[in-house]
Structures are given as structure tokens and as C-alpha cells.
């Protein structure tokens, strides 16, 4: 069953809103589970799970920092009288991880819709075409930027730099070299792209017509209303 990208956007927005407003860990876990199930229904691309494996240390680091700098409740680990790990701090860290997971998983719901359909959805929501187009371009170019950064990092290592053996300071210095080529690539590509799209008549006329027209069907309305109601009910029950 194919859904309109607008109804899916509403669904993503609902899950993300719950992730932001809900503080209860158990409830966040339920929202995460629901977003997983929904993503599965919409045939979301879960290959990202493999990729975020690399970020587990970062997630754990964020959780740990949260725990240190926002201590609360019973102390679990104390060094020289200083609470390093507290129950409240740990809960905050877990919350951050769950929120990030919900936002990432719910975003995979959009997988089944092409970038053109997403632009059209935004345009039909009266968002100016230029802005919708920019959003889709940004999404389109993210994997390219990632590949470029990877290539530069490989090139740095192939200059005989054994990154794993460098001191932390030098390691950061190496990473700082990644910005320059990626940034220059972005500027270069933006210039080329703007010339290319202008030569194809982008914004040549004030009114823009579109071959694709999205139409909301009954199931889209049901999905949108259900997800909005579900979010509202949870938030009302949660905050009252």
C-alpha cells in the first residue's frame, strides 16, 4: 500500500515530537519500538544500523558526559568524593540515546518516497519550491560528502600516517584536514550546480507547474489523523 509522502512526514513529525517532549524512559522505549514497527511496515532501510555501529562510542560518550555534568539522585560511582556516575545522570544519558534512535529510525519511514515526491509534498504544503529543492539537494549530497571525507582520510593514511598511533592532539589535527577538501568540494559543486540548473531554466517563470501532483487518499487522512491524535493523547496524558 503506497502512502502519500505528506502522511509519512506527519508520522515522522509525530514520532520526533514524542522523542523530544517525553522524558519517561519506559515511554521512550515504547515509542522507539513503535517507530521500529512502523519503519518495518514502510519497508524502511535498516542498513543504517550497521553504519551507526561506529557511532556507538559517540552515543555512549554523550550519555557519559550527560551523566557527569548533570548529576542527580543516587551516586553510582564516586572518585575522590566527586560523583562521576549518578542514577539521574545515567537516566539522562539513556534518554539522549533513545531520542536519537527514535529520530533516526522514524526518518527511515521516508525511505519509500523519492526525493522528487518529498519536494512535491513540501511544495503542496505551500513551502517555497526553492527551499524544498534545497532540502532535497542537501539530502541527495550527504552520501557524496561522506564518501569524499572517507577518500581524503584514506589519502591521509596512504601518506604513511598511522592515525591509530598518533597522540590525541595530532589525531584531531589530522581530522581537521578533512574539512578543507570537503568544504571546497561543496562550494565547487554548488557553483556548478547553480550554473547547470539556471541553464535549464530554473525560476525562469514566476509560476511553476509540476508533472507530479500528489493526492491524499482516505488511508492518508486516516494515517495522519491517527498519528496526530496518538501523539496528542500521549502528550496530554503525559503532561497532565
Amino acid at each position: 500500500m503506497k502512502f502519500d509522502p505528506r502522511s509519512k512526514l506527519v508520522l515522522v513529525f509525530s514520532f520526533s515530537s514524542l522523542a523530544v517532549f517525553v522524558k519517561d524512559i519506559f515511554l521512550l522505549l515504547i515509542v522507539l519500538l513503535l517507530s521500529f514497527l512502523t519503519s518495518n511496515y514502510f519497508k524502511g532501510d535498516w542498513s543504517f544500523l550497521k553504519r551507526i555501529k561506529k557511532f556507538i562510542i559517540l552515543f555512549l560518550g554523550i550519555a557519559f558526559l550527560q551523566s557527569i555534568f548533570a548529576p542527580a539522585g543516587e551516586s553510582l560511582l564516586t572518585i575522590s568524593g566527586l560523583p562521576i556516575l549518578t542514577l539521574g545522570g545515567l537516566a539522562k544519558g539513556i534518554r539522549v540515546i533513545l531520542r536519537m534512535m527514535i529520530i533516526i529510525v522514524s526518518a527511515t519511514i521516508m525511505r519509500g518516497s523519492s526525493s522528487r515526491e518529498i519536494i512535491q509534498a513540501l511544495v503542496q504544503w505551500k513551502i517555497p519550491y526553492e527551499i524544498a529543492f534545497m532540502v532535497s539537494l542537501a539530502i541527495r549530497f550527504l552520501p557524496i560528502l561522506r564518501d569524499e571525507a572517507k577518500d581524503v582520510f584514506t589519502a591521509i593514511q596512504l601518506r604513511g600516517i598511522e592515525v591509530e598511533e598518533l597522540s590525541l592532539y595530532k589525531r584531531f589535527k589530522v581530522y581537521s584536514y578533512l574539512f578543507m577538501p570537503v568544504l571546497s568540494g561543496v562550494i565547487y559543486r554548488a557553483r556548478e550546480l547553480s550554473t547547470s540548473i539556471e541553464s535549464r531554466g530554473f525560476r525562469a517563470y514566476p509560476e511553476r507547474t509540476s508533472y507530479i501532483k500528489l493526492r491524499l487518499s482516505l488511508k492518508d487522512y486516516i494515517l495522519m489523523i491517527t498519528s496526530m491524535l496518538f501523539t496528542l493523547i500521549i502528550l496530554i496524558l503525559y503532561f497532565i
Partner: protein, 224 residues
């Protein structure tokens, strides 16, 4: 034959590689590469030449088989260690330039290895002269021509004094005069016992310079 094979600096033993599961791009390839030799790797577009070059330099890992660099299994060495032995020139040189100036680009590896300023300055000056980059020392590598960028990339690789060089389409964007200069320079490197594997479509350049030609087609490699 076996004795000769053992002397190879770079060896690919029955390697297979695929980007997508079940679709082998390279099938059971065995090849050897020697120091002091110019090997050309040719083949149609999409045949896997660049992939093969990336496998030989440790950028990509094989599905099956083994790669040996100087008799050491490539799986057991880091990219950094491989980089000290093998220099790899990317098809798009801008992908391997990352420093704000040409001078810094060439000096990069040595400055990270803690070499003295005097050593680095001498090395940079030497490379600037060899690659005719005078006047571009303080220029951004992104604001010079493609040919110049390629020379900067080569200079940056060669400051490490690798034993083997893998060059991916090094003649792209070069006029006949520059191609001639590149050929001369590669010949000089070969004389100094450096091994060269050049991935190229440039038939004339290959015919004039290669000692051996390997053709990749349909996933297999053959000497032609």
C-alpha cells in the same frame, strides 16, 4: 617461474571481489608486480581496473584471496604502513589533496612524522624542482590546473619514498608535452628500482612505456 614469483614486491593470490553480494567484479585473479618494472593495467570501462588498484593498495578488502606487500599479508598491516611502501595516485587528484598550500601538501607526511624543519624544507624544495612547481608553493591546491594538481599529488606521494607506485589514469588532462615529461619522470623512477603499476586508457602512453601489459576484462586478468 615460482622463484620469480617469490621475488615479487606486490602479489595478488586468487583474489575475488564484489561490490554487491553475488556479483563478482574480479574473479580469482592472480598477479605479481616487481620493483624496477612498469606494468600497465588496461581494460574497458567498468572492468575493475581502479578497483584492482585500490585492492593492491589496501583501500578495498577482497572477498577471498590474499594480497602480499613485500611478503607481508596486507590484512596484517595498517593503511599508514602500506602508505610508507606504496604510493597511490587517485584518478581525481583533488581527492587526495587536503592542505591549504602546495608547500604544506608536500610537507604533510614529514611534518606529522616529526622530521626537522630543515629536512622538510629541503625535501619540499627538491620536489618543487623535480615537478616544476616553482611559483606555486603558496598557492592553494584547489586553485591550480588539473595537470599541476596531479604533479602536486605525485610530489606529495613521492616525498615518502615508496617502493611501489600505483597510478590511476595519470595522463588524463595532460597535453602531449606534459605526458612526455611524466613518461621521462616515471622512467627515472623505474631506473631507481621503483615499481610502477599504471592504470590507463592511453594506448600510446602504454605502448611507449610499459614493460608488461595486463588486461582486465570480464573479471579476469590476462597478460597481453
Amino acid at each position: 617461474m615460482q622463484e620469480n614469483y617469490n621475488k615479487a614486491f606486490l602479489k595478488a593470490n586468487n583474489i575475488s571481489f564484489s561490490y554487491k553480494k553475488g556479483e563478482l567484479l574480479l574473479k580469482d585473479i592472480t598477479a605479481s608486480f616487481y620493483k624496477g618494472e612498469f606494468v600497465a593495467i588496461i581494460g574497458p570501462n567498468g572492468s575493475g581496473k581502479t578497483t584492482f588498484g585500490k585492492i593492491l593498495s589496501g583501500i578495498l578488502s577482497v572477498d577471498t584471496g590474499k594480497i602480499y606487500v613485500d611478503s607481508v599479508n596486507i590484512e596484517n598491516i595498517s593503511l599508514g604502513k602500506i602508505g610508507k611502501k606504496i604510493g597511490y595516485l587517485f584518478q581525481e587528484p583533488e581527492r587526495q589533496l587536503f592542505a591549504p598550500t602546495v608547500r604544506e601538501e608536500i610537507a604533510f607526511a614529514h611534518s606529522f612524522m616529526g622530521k626537522t624543519k630543515e629536512f622538510i624544507d629541503n625535501k619540499v624544495s627538491e620536489m618543487i624542482e623535480i615537478f616544476s612547481l616553482q611559483g606555486l608553493e603558496n598557492a592553494s591546491p584547489y586553485k591550480i590546473s588539473r595537470g599541476e594538481r596531479q604533479r602536486v599529488a605525485l610530489a606529495a606521494i613521492l616525498t615518502n619514498e615508496p617502493s611501489y607506485l600505483i597510478l590511476d589514469e595519470p595522463t588524463t588532462g595532460l597535453d602531449s608535452k606534459r605526458k612526455g615529461k611524466l613518461a621521462e619522470f616515471l622512467y627515472e623512477l623505474k631506473k631507481q628500482d621503483l615499481g610502477l603499476a599504471v592504470i590507463s586508457h592511453d594506448k600510446d602512453f602504454i605502448v611507449e612505456n610499459a614493460d608488461r601489459v595486463l588486461k582486465i576484462s570480464g573479471g579476469v586478468i590476462n597478460e597481453v
